[in-house]
Symmetry: D3
Subunit: 69 residues, 6 copies
């Protein structure tokens, strides 16, 4: 499936921290830098996410802000 | 101001495309890769955004999805 | 690519209304009902979206509210 | 109160899974298909959400992506 | 309809700026301060929004960040 | 850092409720009214958020809806 989301950054799962309902997934971007995703525990199970997995951090353009200075 | 948003990726503005009310800002990440932000024209004017500016792409963790495979 | 977003509703594109930078895509869900997506013009071009296309409306669980009464 | 959100899909609560602070609410859409909402425990209590309730899944157009293929 | 969104701030419409597809609505909060909402032109028409209207700025808790210092 | 987000409302932290991974921060706005933010526990620790802190509730314009009537 091709997705309309403009931002799909390749990386590797560094850590998965499940909570009661919400998990945090830390992704080391191939280009450098780290992105944290807050997703449901069900999504983590469904994608069988674990450290070392090759993944994409997917972000809709309307969810990106710009900071300067 | 320090911000709760977990993801603040440094980069350089590559292009600013203003629309009628909404502008698209393309940011080349320092680590490689590109991020597009959809923000208001007012924000572009307020931050005086133009190609070459050093900026951050700021994204709340709950707005990041994970794609795999 | 398998996506963490919990909500992926199948449907058919009914209309595509491009704006200056932002387009509105109306999707008739297979199960009935209609969903409007506000996405970039670039995404519309990239996916070559047009009426009649089979698509999915994709929504992260943290972006869904509940109304009652 | 009439809401600007373009997407208000009628359905029935199928399950409510409270977490430490965040609950997941599964809604069976009247037209078919299922939507999961991630909302605060306080919202679940405030609306007294329980299986069988008639509700709406409410989604802002700018939070809907399109997937194709 | 009662909504799960935790933040519903009362105010008055100060300005409505329609774009090609997306409008900006400026709301003067009753308590002081101003909030800008970026919504579809269709929503503006549907709610017949105009300066002077009593409205609520409605925001999901997961869309609020915190800045400090 | 100056931020593109159009809405930055000053207030005081009233309560911080940590969950397993996600915390709720209640902010009393200077102008009156209360805003709840759902952010990561890591962000709470990173900003050392506690009751009495002067903060801003930061909200992107595209995440604000309008309710009327």
């Amino acid at each position: 499936m091709k997705l309309s989301a403009r931002n799909q950054l390749p990386g590797t799962v560094e850590a998965v921290s499940p909570g009661a309902t919400t998990a945090h997934v830390t992704i080391k971007l191939n280009g450098g830098g780290t992105v944290v995703a807050s997703i449901t525990n069900e999504a983590v199970a469904d994608l069988a996410l674990k450290p070392g997995d090759s993944v994409f951090a997917v972000i809709k353009a309307s969810d990106v802000m710009v900071g300067k200075g």
